[in-house]
């Protein structure tokens, strides 16, 4: 099986690398020749105007779509065309632009779903209530609670996920993604719809997660304050192609980027 999680051996191998990534829907090239390279521990930003293909890139990386051509390498290993479940097991976790929580489960149960693959316990063990079941449930609960504490969500642990305030739902989604123990975390517009306070809190959380877990993060964002505040490197997409890439300050002052965002 290829379910084994990929871990970086050599530090110089990038965590994520895409080579000439393309996808075509009918006559439309939604993503055209995108080459990303993200090093271990980096916080990388993917920005661009609406409809530039940012989320499509995420869907390609997580296996929702299969690329028309090009390659995706996770820590040097080719994962192109694998199904979403397997890609998650291999070490890519994501959040969604429009929040997708499990609304009929409580906050802590949402995180526990993320931990499912980390702590073994098969169905027979659960149905017949063998000792392994109890031990694994205990361990899942404890680890989920720890994660919730990191995101200051522990006091809401018994709320239904749907009843959380918006900003906390976003955080819970990140906590759930972190629970799958990823090598690379993809955040799709985590600050969308947040007020400035919530955005600031979120920035602190992302910085904390990065430092604490040594997480490599790829981020889609519209909020320029957030992008310029925490991202080191950026790629700007426009109409599916790379418009500019490099370190944040240089890219954001690039006239072509300003033009793409603000028009002539």
């Amino acid at each position: 099986m290829t379910d084994e999680k990929i871990v970086t051996s050599a530090p110089d191998v990038p965590v994520l690398r895409t080579e000439h990534l393309c996808i075509q829907f009918g006559g439309l090239r939604a993503v055209d020749d995108v080459n990303l390279e993200i090093k271990k521990g980096e916080l990388y930003g993917l920005i661009g105007p609406n409809g530039a293909g940012k989320t499509t890139v995420f869907n390609l990386l997580t296996g929702v779509y299969k690329p028309t051509s090009g390659k995706i390498l996770l820590c040097g290993k080719d994962i192109t065309g694998k199904p979403p479940v397997e890609i998650n097991k291999l070490g890519i976790a994501r959040t969604f632009q429009n929040i997708r929580l499990f609304n009929n489960l409580t906050v802590i149960e949402n995180v526990m779903v993320g931990l499912s693959n980390q702590i073994p316990c098969n169905m027979a063990q659960s149905i017949f209530r063998l000792p392994r079941h109890k031990a694994s449930e205990r361990e899942m609960f404890d680890r989920a609670l720890e994660l919730l504490k990191v995101f200051q969500l522990d006091e809401y642990k018994d709320y239904l996920a749907a009843n959380l305030p918006y900003g906390k739902q976003r955080k819970l989604e990140i906590a759930r993604a972190m629970a799958t123990n990823p090598t690379l975390l993809l955040l799709d517009e985590p600050a969308a719809g947040m007020n400035p306070n919530e955005t600031q809190e979120l920035m602190d959380d992302i910085t904390f997660v990065r430092r604490e877990f040594g997480m490599t993060i790829l981020l889609i964002e519209h909020d320029m304050r957030l992008v310029s505040g925490i991202c080191e490197n950026l790629t700007v997409l426009n109409f599916g192609t790379e418009l500019a890439k490099g370190d944040t300050a240089t890219v954001l002052s690039d006239p072509s980027v300003v033009k793409a965002y603000l028009g002539d």
Partner: protein, 358 residues
């Protein structure tokens, strides 16, 4: 009284109260039946209730927890009823044992269940690609196909249109086995749902895309739920064939599937206890109507049955009755009792006089 309430308040008892209730119910009626105090009609009613409850719990897994609409549950039951019945008949004949034989009975229960489970697995395969209405159509078609295949096979096999003459098992004890099966089904379903696998199944219902991205193996869980659900439907089928003198494939039409679905929906979609209660209630009404309204009045059976269903649905959904429902539903009533108990317990801690008054 306080002691009884305190007993029900313990988390262990609260979690397993439904086993306890079914267990005590079975034990009481079992004893009554063994001592010959139960009428045949009551025994038949109990058999039908155990079958309906089994069907409702197993369909609840697919519809309530996995969130897939299945309209072919009677089809799986049909598989169990005819295969289990035929097997029992053949075994009884070849072994030359007369009447109720426990080994034959248990063996056909298992085989009927397993074959139905195999069919469930096969229906689970397209279920991985289809969703919602489309899956409902496939399962509906499956039920109808099974029924007409059984009917049109040579009469020597399953009895054709006349139906299959079924084996017998002591009427005194058949419903006890029915309820033992209910307990087994309850244990499997409840233990599964109160584990990480249950959370995974609910996560698939809530948001399949997110479940995939969180590493939940959707294929595995969908197939498993369909398989285990049809296993218990098959077991219910075998029980059914034992409870009737003759099974006809015409019984297992889509109306039957929808009746099971009605039980799950009335029980509150995704509540095991609700499904059980609704199944017992609907079966009770149905069987009672059949025994009370005989002769010329029997045409009224369906009319009254439908009226009662309509009234239940109105009661559960009418906006005008919202206040009444909220005031008098099982949850608020039980909460009231437990809260009362709590304040009494608190009083007992501070001053003993009030507790003594109770």
């Amino acid at each position: 009284m306080n002691r009884i309430l305190a007993f029900f308040k313990k988390p262990f008892v609260r979690n397993y109260a439904n086993y306890l209730i079914v267990g005590v119910f079975t034990a009481v009626f079992g004893l009554l039946s063994a001592t010959g105090l139960l009428k045949m009609g009551t025994q038949f009613l109990l058999e039908q209730i155990s079958i309906a409850v089994l069907l409702a719990i197993s369909l609840c897994m697919v519809v309530g927890f996995l969130g897939e609409l299945s309209l072919g549950h009677a089809g799986f039951m049909c598989v169990g009823a005819f295969l289990g019945g035929k097997l029992a008949q053949a075994l009884t004949a070849s072994m030359g044992v007369a009447g109720s034989n426990l080994v034959v009975f248990v063996f056909s229960l298992l085989v009927g269940g397993l074959v139905a489970a195999a069919f469930g697995f096969m229906i689970g395969l397209p279920a991985l690609r289809l969703r919602g209405d489309y899956l409902a159509i496939v399962t509906l078609a499956f039920g109808e196909i099974v029924r007409s295949v059984v009917m049109n096979l040579p009469a020597t096999l399953f009895g054709g249109t006349l139906g299959l003459e079924t084996p017998r098992f002591s009427r005194k004890y058949l419903f006890i086995f029915g309820f033992l099966m209910v307990l087994a089904c309850l244990a499997v379903t409840q233990n599964l749902m109160r584990s990480k696998h249950g959370r995974a199944i609910i996560s698939i219902k809530d948001n399949e895309i997110a479940a995939r991205a969180t590493g939940i193996d959707i294929t595995k869980y969908k197939l498993f739920v369909f398989t285990i659900s049809s296993f218990f439907a098959g077991v219910a089928g075998v029980l059914y064939s034992y409870s009737q003198s003759r099974v006809q494939s015409a019984t297992f039409d889509y109306n039957y599937s929808i009746e099971i679905l009605v039980m799950v929906v009335l029980g509150g979609m995704g509540s095991i206890n609700g499904s059980m209660l609704a199944a017992a209630l609907i079966t009770f009404i149905n069987v009672k109507l059949q025994t009370v309204l005989t002769g010329n009045l029997s045409v009224l059976q369906n009319v009254i049955y439908s009226l009662i269903l309509i009234l239940i649905v109105i009661y559960r959904n009418a906006p005008g009755l919202k206040g009444f429902r909220e005031k008098y539903n099982m949850r608020t009533i039980s909460e009231k009792i437990f809260k009362k108990k709590q304040t009494v317990a608190e009083n007992a801690d501070t001053g003993e006089e009030e507790a003594n008054n109770d």
